[in-house]
Symmetry: C2
């Protein structure tokens, strides 16, 4: 069994707390998994929160995965992809540019482990984008960085429309046509071609990674009441409905653009395997209304499986009792399920 690889994210944030508290509560979830980080990041946090977990560090990924696969080690297995010279101290709650390169390198090493078949899936902890940016990290977030690494590995150009952000909980799965942009820019950012591509990626990954034989997709309208036949807004008529039709012509089961205020109601949301949304809040409002803290962020369209927690670094809560590991546990379980279907 090939293990999962988990990244801590920003070492000054709650990523380490989540891993340690999750292991304390449900260590079985960590079977067949390795943490791509220096053991000392976790060791220092252990001391801060005053719990005891054995941690074993390996420099060599093969050794780490072998031990994770055989389940022979009691405790957490760290694979440290950093060369020994990188020993910048971590100040809990205070992210530093001095560790930024190490953070990026751990994510890159973990992604490459997936790309080379040494890990079955990647589960990422929360990063502090502003800190990484100031250290030369040019990506809006994890997703774009992982897409870039994948494109490099596959010797292809990276395209925005090649990957899709999905969030999933026990109650609902939502996928996004656009992500982090001003609401004012959303209507013109919606294109028939990229909507079709998104629908195809969601359909493909629901089949291949979620084991759903005939995915049923809902497409959300942009405007209230789906624009009432163009009465307020024409994006449904000009952009979205043509994409839905083209998707159906390709054999997908996709709805016409549906009024977004009713599609998330209890009866309707159960009729779909995923609801494809036009913009960030259209997807995240219903998701967090129903499942705050329990959702998993999934990147579809990558050549490997990647899940993530749905929260940030919560710097003010580092080392405190007020850290929930629910989302991390869900992200690990989701990655494992997806790997089983892969």
């Amino acid at each position: 069994m090939i293990p999962l690889v988990i990244t801590v994210g920003e070492p000054a944030g709650i990523g380490s707390d989540c891993i340690l508290r999750a292991w304390s509560g449900q260590k079985d979830t960590f079977e067949h998994s390795i943490i791509a980080a220096p053991a000392k990041w976790l060791q220092e946090r252990l001391e801060l929160i005053d719990i005891d977990i054995p941690i074993k560090e390996y420099d060599n990924i093969n050794e780490a995965t072998l031990n994770a696969s055989s389940n022979s080690v009691e405790g957490l297995i760290c694979w440290n992809p950093l060369s020994t010279q990188n020993s910048c101290p971590v100040m809990a709650g205070n992210p530093s540019q001095r560790t930024a390169k190490a953070v990026v390198h751990c994510i890159e090493a973990a992604a490459n482990a997936c790309l080379h078949g040494k890990a079955a899936a990647l589960v990422t902890g929360p990063i502090e984008k502003a800190v990484l940016r100031s250290a030369g990290f040019e990506f809006p977030g994890h997703t774009e960085f992982l897409a870039h690494l994948s494109a490099v590995a596959m010797q292809q150009p990276t395209k925005q429309s090649d990957f899709v952000m999905m969030l999933a909980s026990n109650q609902i799965r939502v996928a996004l046509l656009t992500t982090h942009m001003a609401l004012r820019d959303v209507p013109d950012a919606l294109k028939t071609s990229s909507t079709l591509k998104c629908l195809q990626i969601v359909d493909h990954d629901l089949r291949s990674r979620f084991g759903i034989e005939a995915p049923r997709l809902a497409l959300c309208a942009l405007n209230p009441h789906a624009g009432e036949q163009g009465h307020f807004g024409r994006e449904e008529i000009d952009v979205l409905a043509p994409a839905a039709q083209q998707a159906r012509d390709c054999g997908l089961n996709v709805s016409n653009p549906l009024p977004a205020d009713t599609v998330f109601s209890a009866n309707m949301r159960q009729a779909y395997d995923a609801i494809v949304c036009c913009y960030h809040d259209q997807a995240l409002i219903p998701l967090k209304t129903l499942s705050f803290g329990e959702a998993v962020n999934i990147t579809l369209g990558l050549p490997f499986i990647r899940t993530s927690v749905d929260h940030g670094t919560a710097l003010d809560r580092v080392g405190t009792e007020d850290v929930s590991c629910t989302s991390l546990l869900a992200a690990i379980r989701m990655a494992r399920q997806m790997a089983a279907n892969d």
Copy 2:
């Protein structure tokens, strides 16, 4: 006790079904209330759905309200504000322009009954806007028509910012800064002055009609993550935050613009008495995700209390078993509670 007045709305729609089924199930809810409609609209529907309810019709509102107040009549009390010449037949499920004037007249008469203190609140059934429009009804919906009637009665001009659409369920109250417009037009429609006015109306009516002594209001951001300090979108900085500050300067308890994806999560929504939203779906998505079919539409800022069902005429379900009266019952109860606080 001054009675409530209830309108059927479009007589070919499910308005009558809802009233009759609600009375059958919970007739106590109809104590101290009158239906502003010809009895025959309800009588014909009774025959169609094959149930038996005594209906008593009065031409004179004073007589109707007297009997409703004394609770001396077993059955539904209709007050027919139409002169006898109006006897156009109603075809269940098929709205006709021939009854459009009668529909408008019933709503107008019911509103005037409230404006003149003869009724304590108005509860409206669903109308078919397109049919009314073709008969010369120039308003986008009930709300604007009622605002117009109020302005006429008070000899004042009608302003869009003088009234606020609120939706409420047991779980959440949302109020809208903009209503039925293309999403593309929303950013420029948001103004500091009208946002302030909306916050003031919501605060005022929560105090006077909901009996909340110190209302706690959340103001939703327009952009994802509230724009991340202007990184994607400046409406929070330029429009919404100044309105929130001005409202606080007037003594209101209003949040700064909050990321809309987290404000509706279980813990946060409980911390506010109402959440003021920038656009239709921002408010209606969480409302219907949580409380589909159980919410009440309330118009704030009018000189009288008005509640409404949160559904349409559902023409395809007229006369069938598949009609829920949950929203009507909630609208009547809400109107009665508000009247008790008035």
